[in-house]
Structure formats: C-alpha cells, structure tokens
C-alpha cells in the first residue's frame, strides 16, 4: 500500500491492562526513531489529546491506529467506531484486542453476577443500601454519566472491521518492531493477516531437543519444581506450545513456566484448545512403554484441572467454543 513519508499514528487502549503500552515503551531507544518518522496524534497514556480532538479530525486522518484492549463497555465501543473511521489501517494490538485475553474469561459470568459481587458481596464492602454505579447518576449539581458495562467481553473484530492483528500478552518487542517496519515500508501482508510467525512455539523452543514423545500423567506447577532444561510436557506439565504460535521470544519458557497460549493458535488450527487436547491425547502415557486406549486417555485428560482456564486462557472471548454460564 502507498503511505506518506511522515506517518500519522494513533495508540488507544480499551479494556486493557496497560501492558501493551509498556511493550511499546520497551522498544526503548528505537521509539525515538519511530517518533522521528511519525507524528503520534493520539496516545492517552502519554499525550494530552482528548476525545474531542479525535472527533475533530477528518475521516481517515490517521494512517495507522494501534488499538489494544477488548471492548467491554459503551465508551470503548464508541471509541472503536471512532478510531476505525479516523484511521486508514486499524491494528488489533495484543491479545485482548485479538482474542479477548485473560479478561475474556469474564464471559464465564454475566454482568449481573459481576456487579452483585463487586458492589455488594465482597467481604470488604459495606453497602447496606445496595448502592451501585449508575450510568446516569444524580449529584447535587446535576447529572454525571459513566458508560454502560456490557454483559460480555468482545475482541475488536466483533465490533469493527480490523485490518491486522499483532498477537501476544503483551506483544514481543521483536514483533512490534517488525510490524512497525512493515508499516513504514508500506510492506504489509494481505488484510486480515496476523503479524507473527506461522510456526508453533514447539518448533522454535530451546527445549525441543527433548521434544515430548510421552507425557507421564498430569502435574501442576505447585506440585513440582520444573527442570529448566526439559520439555514441560515430558515433565507432565501442560504446555500450550504445540497449539500456540511462536514469535514470543519464549519469554515464559525462559522464566521456567510453560506456555499458556497468549500468541493464539497457529494459522492451520481453528481452535487452540481443541488442538491442545488432541496433542495431549497423543503424548499422554501411564508409563514409558504402554500405548493407551481411548477411555484411558480420557481419564488422564480429566486430570487437567480447569480445562477452560487452561486451554482457553486467552481465547475464550473469541468464541470458538460456546460458554454455558452458571446461574
């Protein structure tokens, strides 16, 4: 695509933790190069541009807007539409905008359950009148407003059209830099692409010389002290590496913690959790020798506690599986 020499960029955060902003700052001195080659027009964490300033921009004024965070309330939805309108290219930046991420696990519960617990049931809350935040609250001087809290967390592409996805929680600095370079060079892949390697994490993992042929039952991280040189699966620890896109820099593996799946599925896999369950099915063993049968595999798989939080820690809100809520 044809882009001007000095780009106009925007960064926004919706329902997010701020880690994506920090990941941008973690490009360190290279951010000075970005700032030399681009004008950053909107970045609430670091700059004083207000919503009114963005509304006043002509449509498609910003060349690229990097949008992190999912959409959980009416203000975030409004901003998603506004920024889509004001930007030529809209990038879902980070796991929340891409798939809903960990906060997407909130879709296991409804709005009412959340509001009830937070504002009336928590042990530290004293609220005999049952006060709750109101979208329109009367104060002595007039009325004040807060956005409507939605029933569900939505990834960005459920709300507006998204051009690209930059995965990770947060995205790796190397991934951010190659995306920025592609933007500066006007060298972006086809619309809809995920800006990350296509191979699974296992294929680039430093522990892969010990790649799992077998998994001796299922262990939890509190029960063991993991050997930092050996494949987690081989140690009986669920590692999402076989079902997860690489390109993260193996940061959790380097911290001696298994992959939990923040980069999302590889492109050939529709459902990250489903792929992982099938990968486990093929490596789980009771002992070194014996192949096991269907019911035996199922018995072992049942040892995985909290399967939804394990296999869909980042992807629940992207809706590849349906969620049945407890009343």
């Amino acid at each position: 695509m044809q882009l001007p020499d000095k780009l106009k960029l925007g960064f926004y955060w919706a329902a997010s933790c701020g880690g994506c902003e920090i990941a941008v700052l973690d490009t360190n001195e290279r951010i000075l190069d970005v700032m030399a080659r681009a004008d950053i027009l909107f970045w609430p964490v670091a700059m004083d541009t207000k919503y009114a300033d963005v509304k006043a921009m002509p449509d498609r004024h910003m060349d690229v807007c990097l949008f992190n965070g999912s959409v959980r309330n009416s203000e975030q939805k409004e901003l998603a539409h506004l920024l889509r309108k004001k930007s030529k290219v809209l990038v879902a930046f980070g796991s929340c905008a891409h798939h809903g991420c960990i906060p997407g696990l909130a879709n296991l519960y409804g709005r009412e359950q959340i509001l009830k617990y937070v504002y009336t049931e928590e042990p530290s809350v004293i609220n005999p009148e049952g006060t709750r935040p109101l979208t329109r609250a009367r104060v002595p001087e007039g009325e004040v407003f807060v956005p409507e809290f939605y029933d569900r967390v939505a990834p960005l592409n459920r709300v507006v059209d998204v051009d690209y996805y930059l995965p990770g929680c947060p995205p790796a600095v190397s991934g951010i830099l190659s995306a920025v370079q592609a933007i500066f060079e006007g060298n972006l892949p086809p619309k809809g692409s995920v800006l990350a390697p296509v191979k699974a994490l296992c294929e680039e993992c430093d522990r892969n010389k010990h790649v799992a042929k077998k998994m001796p039952g299922v262990k939890r991280m509190w029960e063991v002290q993991a050997d930092p040189g050996v494949c987690f699966l081989e140690q009986g620890i669920v590692c999402m590496g076989p079902a997860t896109r690489g390109g993260c820099g193996q940061r959790c593996i380097n911290g001696n913690w298994p992959c939990t799946g923040c980069m999302g599925p590889t492109p050939d896999v529709g459902d990250q959790g489903g792929k992982m369950i099938s990968a486990l099915g093929s490596v789980l063993r009771i002992d070194d020798e014996k192949e096991i049968t269907g019911p035996e595999t199922e018995r072992l798989l049942r040892q995985v506690k909290d399967p939804v939080g394990t296999f869909y820690m980042y992807g629940l809100a992207s809706g590849t599986i349906s969620v049945r809520r407890q009343k």
């Binding site: 009336t120 369950i277 049942r302 909290d306 407890q326």
Partner: protein, 485 residues
C-alpha cells in the same frame, strides 16, 4: 443553573477516567467529580481457576504494575499453602520488586507526571509529554531516561522471564535461580540506577523546588489534605515494598494502627459510589464520612507520599538522607501537599536502586535453594505488597484441590480514590474563577490526580463457581468426549 466543564479522557495516567467540573452562576466551582468509567471483574472470573495461576491471571489487572499483582498473589499462595519461602527466594523476590519500582517510578516521573514540571503545566498541549521533555532536557538525557527505565524492566526479565507479566513466583519460592552472569548484569544496572536516581532528585530540585510558581502550588495548604496515611514498614518502621506490616498514621504523624496483611478486613472497608465504577476505601474505626479530610474522616492516602509519611526513614543511606531533606524542607511530618508525591517518588527511586545494588552484591543471591515444597495446606491466604502507587491486598480462599473459591482484591488506587477526588475538586476550586478556563488551567487541575500516579486499570478490576463443560464433537456434531462437569 450549573454549567459544566468536562475533561475526557484525563490523560497521562494508567487507565481511564474523566473529570466533570460544575460551575455556579458566577462561574465559581461548585464541585468536581473524577469518574472511572471502567470495570473488569477479575474477582469473579478468577473463581474456578487453578490457584498457582493466580499470580499470572491477576497480573493482567495491570500491565504497568504486574510485578506487584504477581507477588501479592504469590504471597497469598505462600500463606494458603502454609509454606515459608527459602531465604534465597525471598532475596530474589525483593530484587525483582526493586527492578519493578525502578521502572515504574521512572515511567511516572519522566513520561506521565514530570512533563507538567519539566515542560510546564501550561505549555502547548502537543509539548506536554515525553517528546516535550526530550526537547527540553536534550536527547542525551532522554537516552539516560530510556536506558534506566529499561534497566528496571530488564531486571524483571532476567528474574521473571517476561518483563511485563512475569512468571517466576510459585508457592514456597521461585521457578528459577539467578546465574552469576545475570547477577553481574543486574549489579551493573543497579549501580547505574543509583546515579540516575540521584540525578533525578537533583533535577527535581533545580526544576521544581527552585521555581517559585511551582512552589506556590506545592506549598498552598488548600492543595493538600490532612488525612491518614498508610504504607508498609519493616521492623524498624522504614519503608518496605515487598514485606512488612501495614502502618497507619494520623494527621499528626502518630501511629494509629499497625497490622499484619491478613488482618486487613479489621481495619479497612470499601464504600460504593453511585457515580463511579471504582469504590473508595476508608478506615473502619473512623467510618466513611464523605469526601472530606481531617481526623473525623476515615480517608487515608497511600503511595510514595503515604509511605514516606508513615515511615521513620529509609533502609539505605542515600535514600534516608533524601527522605530527611524532604521532611526538613517542609518542616512537618506528615507532609500533606499533593504535589509532594513526585518528590517522595524520587526518594523511593533512590531507595529501590540502592537496595537492588545491595541485593545484587549479596553472595547468597545466586543460591540454588529457591523453593521450599513442604506444604501445610490452609483454606485461605492474604498477600500484601506495596505497589508503586500504594498498598495492594490479595485475599484468596482455596478448595482442597487448590482451586480458587473466592477472591477479594483491594488495589492501590482504590485506597486513594477518595483523596484523588478531593484533590481534583480542591484544585478546581482554587484555580478556576469567574468561569475562566483554558487548556493550561485545566491541565493544572489534572496535575492533582496525576501526582498520585493513579492506575484506574487496576482500580477497575469480580464470582460464583462456573460449571464449564468442553464437548469434543466429531465433524458430524456427535459428542465424542466431554471434559469436566
């Protein structure tokens, strides 16, 4: 008939917020509200998860202070698993924590709050940011700022795997030991951070304390609050980030309460406001009396100034001298000036840097005894740490098979919600007259929430026990397997 001025969104902070200022017929400020438009509900969806995942799940409350949530979670797990971490593990945890404070305080002073002082509160909007700071202090200094912020993050990366959302804490210890190579690298970085912290304190003195206009804002008694203060202290009542007791002092600086983290519910409670998603905490012994200060108000402040106010000093020499200079300059303790938070933050930057250097030169830090796995399982655990912006409480109840049953979180910024709202209201009243406002004036109002380095991402962080069923179906839709009932 009131007219209103809206600042939306408020900027240079972590998370979302807006300010509504109401003016009366004469254009004087009647009231101002700082509203947080967001809620995310972590306490609810953490229920049903694996206990050992909590330090990572809750770190997604905040990507700016993930280390604080991670270790508040890990400490809650230590207690619930009835295990005391090894000495080496505790040193590693404190070291990673120092790295976090270094990075977070530099981020706030230079990127978020500092531009108001370095560039000026009424500088053009486009200059009131890190770019304006670079222009003013020069690229060489800017590179130093970037380098030392990166050092803090690098310390977390070496010890915790990921600089944002680390993975190193487990019940009873750490996942990973520190190599000699890593120790050396951290030592070099910490040494450089000590110098940079001293440079930053000097810069504060030159740019802020020597500027009469800023001093007028800092010393204006209307722009401060006589409230209680809260922070964690060590056995000698010095500032402690990772571990200690929570101390509360009153408007005269006298100790009002001192408690173990696990007893927090005896001391503090949360009040629900109908106009904001974030609640306001208060001291239970006093009660919630509204957004007012004075000894009859249960409101208290946390964060750098709160911590310095409750402490008798700092545990490292340079930082202790800087602490004394701050209180000598004001001539009072506690210091009530809201803008003094910036100064207190830099004193803490020096403490975190000096303490990181001490730990990195401790021969025990590279020990391999990083985990105690003798568990004495309990049903509950509370973990308390000082996040960069104040006291953070994580309280978990676990099932027998170590799954999460109930969660309560009180985050740093919730503790400060009442005082932040008061500060914004009082600043608006002090600064806005006859309805005259401009961009610089409104930004000066914003400086009074910014001083707290609030994190409304954290503050907007929810339960029940879900039945989750994963059905594995064949291509034709037939049920092949059902996981978990």
């Amino acid at each position: 008939m009131s007219t209103r001025i809206t600042i939306d969104p408020i900027t240079r902070l972590e998370g979302h917020g807006k300010i509504e200022i109401f003016l009366d017929a004469q254009g004087e400020v009647e009231n101002a509200y700082l509203q947080v438009p967001e809620l995310r509900g972590f306490e609810q969806f953490c229920v049903g998860r694996k206990a050992e995942d909590m330090p990572q799940l809750t770190s997604r409350i905040c990507g700016v202070c993930p280390v604080a949530h991670h270790y508040a979670g890990v400490k809650a797990l230590d207690e619930a698993f009835g295990v005391k971490p090894t000495g080496t593990a505790l040193k590693l945890r404190e070291l990673i924590y120092c790295g976090y404070v270094i990075y977070d305080h530099i981020l706030h002073f230079y990127f978020l709050g500092g531009p108001d002082f370095v560039v000026g509160p009424d500088a053009p909007k486009a200059k009131r940011n890190i770019l304006g700071v670079i222009e003013k202090v020069g690229v060489d200094t800017a590179r130093e700022v970037i380098k030392h912020r990166a050092h803090g993050q690098r310390i977390t990366e070496i010890l915790g795997g990921k600089p944002t959302h680390p993975v190193s804490g487990v019940p009873g210890g750490q996942t990973k030991a520190l190599s000699e190579e890593g120790r050396k690298e951290i030592g070099e970085m910490a040494k450089s951070c000590v110098e940079f912290a001293k440079f930053s304190l000097q810069l504060f003195e030159d740019v802020v304390l020597k500027n009469p206009a800023y001093m007028a804002l800092i010393t204006n008694p209307k722009l401060g609050h006589a409230v209680y203060n809260m922070g964690m202290v060590d056995e000698k009542n010095r500032v402690a980030f990772y571990d200690g007791k929570v101390r509360v002092t009153d408007q005269q600086g006298k100790e009002f309460a001192k408690f173990e983290g696990r007893d927090y519910l005896d001391h503090i409670a949360e009040h629900v406001l109908d106009w904001s998603y974030v609640k306001a905490t208060y001291l239970k012994a006093i009660g919630y009396k509204g957004l007012i200060d004075g000894p009859d108000s249960g409101l208290y402040r946390v964060g750098p100034l709160g911590r310095l106010n409750v402490a008798d000093g700092m545990a490292t020499p340079g930082a202790d001298a800087a602490y004394r200079k701050l209180f000598d300059t004001f001539g009072t303790r506690p210091v009530n000036s809201t803008l003094a938070y910036h100064w207190a933050r830099l004193v803490e930057l020096l403490y975190a840097s000096e303490r990181a250097l001490e730990l990195a030169t401790d021969p025990g830090i590279t020990g391999t005894d990083i985990r105690n796995m003798k568990f004495d399982m309990k049903a509950e655990g509370v973990g308390v740490v000082e996040a960069a912006r104040g006291t953070l409480f994580h309280d978990y109840r676990l099932t027998e098979d170590r799954m999460i049953e109930k969660v309560n979180l009180i985050v740093a910024t919730t503790n400060n919600k009442g005082p932040i709202c008061m500060s914004v209201r009082e600043a608006a009243k002090e600064l806005i007259h006859q309805g005259k406002v401009d961009d610089g004036l409104l930004n000066t109002v914003e400086m009074f929430f910014r001083a707290y380095d609030p994190c409304f991402g954290c503050a907007s962080h929810v339960l029940g026990r879900p039945t989750v069923v994963i059905d594995v179906r064949s291509h034709g839709g037939d049920l092949v397997r059902r996981l978990a009932g």
